[in-house]
């Protein structure tokens, strides 16, 4: 299953210029009061744990569905401003531009809206595929289920990263920063619980994650 998927898979290209960004001013989303704006008090940790007696794969699948809905919903609020002109690349901070790997394994820099559209179409296709996410009673999950979930999480994370880095002004003006932080904290908490994201992948939002962890949210 993974082999057919990797054919369409997406890869990032994180430039080495990343290092130099340490000296750059902090982005707004890691500064108070925005970074501390959340809808909830308490930790997500108890909510994301595998409930007793529940199949792990089933739990992962149910949550992947939810997070995909959440992110699609959220991206919808700023989608109008994510245009090829405003976002010629799928950027996630200084020096981070994700490249889209097409079917021929060619790595292309595409505008962010195109990148996100391709990503979400691809994920939706997986979620709707009963061979990848079985819906019939008794049908087992494929062996590479965890790998599939990890791959989806990786790409969902990138959409978060793009929204934070490229559209945070809109998020603020729509007064939805608490909502975004809350959804992201929930997402990260789940990813940590099941080790779904590589440290390297989460680098673009490292400071934000540290802040949210400091608040004991995830």
């Amino acid at each position: 299953m993974l082999s057919t998927m990797s054919f369409f898979s997406l890869r990032s290209k994180i430039k080495s210029a990343r290092k130099s960004s340490a000296s750059a001013p902090k982005p707004l989303f890691v500064t108070p009061p925005y970074v501390t704006a959340v809808l909830v008090k308490g930790s997500f940790a108890p909510m994301v744990q595998l409930p007793p007696h529940i199949d792990r794969d089933e739990w992962l699948a149910a949550n992947v569905f939810d997070f995909f809905q959440f992110i699609s919903l959220f991206y919808g609020t700023i989608a109008e401003y994510c245009t090829p002109k405003e976002c010629p690349t799928m950027s996630a901070g200084p020096g981070v531009d994700y490249a889209w790997v097409d079917g021929q394994r060619r790595s292309n820099k595409v505008p962010a809206p195109q990148y996100i559209d391709s990503t979400t179409t691809w994920i939706q296709g997986l979620l709707d595929d009963p061979d990848v996410f079985p819906t019939k009673s008794g049908q087992p999950f494929p062996k590479d289920h965890l790998a599939t979930v990890k791959l989806i999480f990786k790409h969902l994370f990138r959409i978060f990263a793009h929204m934070y880095h490229a559209h945070y002004d809109k998020v603020l003006h729509l007064a939805e920063e608490a909502h975004l932080n809350t959804v992201f904290a929930h997402f990260m908490c789940f990813a940590k619980e099941f080790d779904l994201l590589d440290k390297k992948e989460t680098e673009p939002l490292r400071d934000l994650i540290a802040e949210l962890e400091g608040m004991n949210l995830c």
Binding site: L39, D169, H179
Partner: protein, 559 residues
């Protein structure tokens, strides 16, 4: 999990249960523009500022307001924030950097599409996280505990217990799995109409997967939006979702789902019909029977209150009232208390002194009872004065409503009924009602309970506990009194048990036959003239139909 106390962040302080009176704030120069801006788009739990302003002109007004504040926000960003922040954040000069909130971009007005989507998204997440953090015991845990309790009682061997646990686990796994598959209308065989609600048909339907019968309620999105009822529907659905795990006196919700045009509520099917049908059949109930349903209604109120559904706001009054409607008998019907009558012909607008009900009016009332009961504006008859006056109210308004329904069960019409809704309103505000001449047939205790509850000042109105402790429930009628514990446990035989020919017998539904035209026909798109507001584009309506009900979909665990 108990430490995960739900609080919504201070300044966003928006309790999803509390509907703020969302009005566009007036300009106040001393106010922090950011706060003003928030008041515009973060606070509303309803769509009043938008969905309710849904003709083009009004929307343009809201948007220009939004734009103005948006501009102010971007202009004063540098000065209104703490200086440390101003230093650390990137500003003009690096506006090409993606982390920079560029002033030029910020001042662009938001389009209707973005504002609609944002409002819907925010409401969705506020409600979602509120639910997530406030639920201390999940449905699954409850079911697990119930299973263990059942196993204990069964007195079976350890081996058998293990088998039963394995089967339970299999069911739970399938339930989680089923959450991923979408429910659509195609998953149901539509069998028979049961009645007509304010927004569409209620049909008897069979779930093709499980074979279970459900009462499938269709709600036309466009009509709901046009009448500003989307908040009510959400409140109803939220209450029913929460109630489905734990409540005995509130009808269970199995699914809620939607398509382009409609919302669907798949409710537990009560073959005995609703209370209104039964009341129409009987005209009035004998006192012992009225008392049984009255007691069930109070238990339903108790359950709803225990879930935190109090009526902080007129919006939720509706949820409460619907909850009253769904008070149900064990195998009697969904105890639907009759709904109001507001649509009657306004022939007697000015006779304020028409306190008692005239025979003509009574005839009119009875002839239109069913039609009126489901009219959307027909809530007035059962509304408490403080709800009508909008002067703030708590859960005690439910007890007023309860008393009006009790009155109707005993005497055949609601106490403040009048053919003109405005007169009804006046009568309620003045608490003008009299017991009919034949009221002497009813015990003095029953009259006393109604008299105590039908008082204008909610502070002097008895609460739920006091109502339940009222002597009326202890008076022996035919040697019977109300045993609350037995009622709670559901071991009291209901006063009326439907005689059904088979499981598809819908004869208990008053107008099942009358509504017979729509059998098996899936509800199509609404007629154009009906659905749209003047000046509203197809696009705006479609967007609203798509966005306004995000998160409506729900499935309950079905053993």
């Amino acid at each position: 999990m108990s430490d995960a106390i739900r609080t919504l962040a201070n300044k966003f302080g928006s309790n999803p249960r509390k509907v703020p009176s969302a009005k566009i704030p007036t300009t106040d120069s001393s106010e922090d523009p950011r706060e003003r801006f928030k008041a515009l788009i973060s606070e509303p739990k309803e769509f009043r500022h938008l969905a309710h302003s849904s003709n083009a002109n009004e929307a343009a007004g809201v948007l220009s307001e939004l734009w103005k504040t948006g501009e102010k926000l971007s202009r004063c960003q540098g000065d209104s924030r703490p200086s440390s922040l101003a230093e650390s954040s990137v500003h003009a000069g690096q506006s090409s950097s993606p982390t920079t909130p560029s002033a030029s971009r910020a001042s662009k007005p938001f389009s209707t599409v973005t504002v609609e989507k944002t409002v819907a998204t925010k409401i969705y997440f506020e409600a979602y996280f509120d639910r997530l953090m406030s639920t201390t015991t999940t449905g699954r845990n409850k079911r697990r505990l119930q299973l263990e309790a059942d196993l204990e009682a069964l007195n079976v061997s350890e081996d058998e217990k293990r088998t039963i646990r394995r089967q339970w686990l299999q069911k739970e796994t399938e339930y989680i799995r089923s959450l991923r598959s979408r429910v659509t209308l195609n998953d149901f065989d539509l069998l028979k109409p049961l009645g007509r609600g304010a927004f569409g048909m209620i049909r008897l339907a069979r779930d093709k997967n499980t074979g279970n019968l459900v009462a499938l309620k269709t709600l036309d999105k466009a009509t709901m939006l046009r009448r500003g009822q989307e908040g009510h529907v959400r409140a109803e659905r939220d209450l029913l979702c929460q109630a489905s795990d734990s409540c005995n006196f509130i009808v269970k919700l199995f699914y809620s789902f939607q398509d382009e045009h409609n919302l669907y509520l798949g409710l537990e099917y009560m073959p005995g019909g609703d209370l209104l049908s039964l009341l129409i059949k009987c005209d009035i109930f004998p006192e012992w029977m009225a008392r049984f349903y009255a007691a069930e209604m109070l238990l339903a109120i108790e359950e709803a209150h225990s879930l935190g559904y109090r009526t902080h706001d007129a919006e939720y009054y509706d949820a409460q009232r619907r909850m009253l409607e769904t008070a149900r008998g064990r195998d009697g019907g969904t105890g639907t208390p009759p709904r109001g009558t507001a649509g009657a012909a306004g022939d007697a607008l000015n006779d304020d002194d028409n306190i008692t009900i005239t025979p003509e009016l009574l005839v009119l009332f009875k002839s239109q009872r069913r039609a009126q009961a489901f009219s959307i504006v027909g809530t007035t008859n059962y509304m408490a004065p403080e709800v009508l006056a909008g002067s703030g109210h708590d859960f005690k308004c439910d007890l007023w409503s309860f008393a009006t329904i009790l009155f109707e069960m005993l005497f055949g019409y609601p106490p403040f009924h009048h053919s003109s809704p405005s007169v009804t309103r006046q009568k309620i505000l003045r608490c003008h009602y009299v017991f009919p001449a034949h009221a002497a047939a009813v015990s003095p205790e029953a009259r006393d309970l109604m008299a105590q509850l039908l008082v204008r000042d909610p502070a002097t109105r008895p609460g739920l506990k006091e109502a339940m402790a009222h002597p009326w429930f202890r008076v022996p009628i035919d040697g019977q009194t109300v045993d609350w514990e037995a009622m709670r446990d559901g071991v009291v035989p209901p006063p009326w048990v439907p005689q059904l020919k088979n499981e598809l017998d819908t004869s208990c539904f008053e107008d099942a036959a009358a509504a017979g035209d729509g059998v098996g026909v899936p509800p199509g798109p609404p007629t154009v003239g009906e659905a749209r507001m003047p000046g509203e584009s197809d696009e705006a309506l479609d967007l609203r139909k798509r966005m306004a009900f995000k998160g409506f979909t729900f499935k309950t665990f079905q053993p």
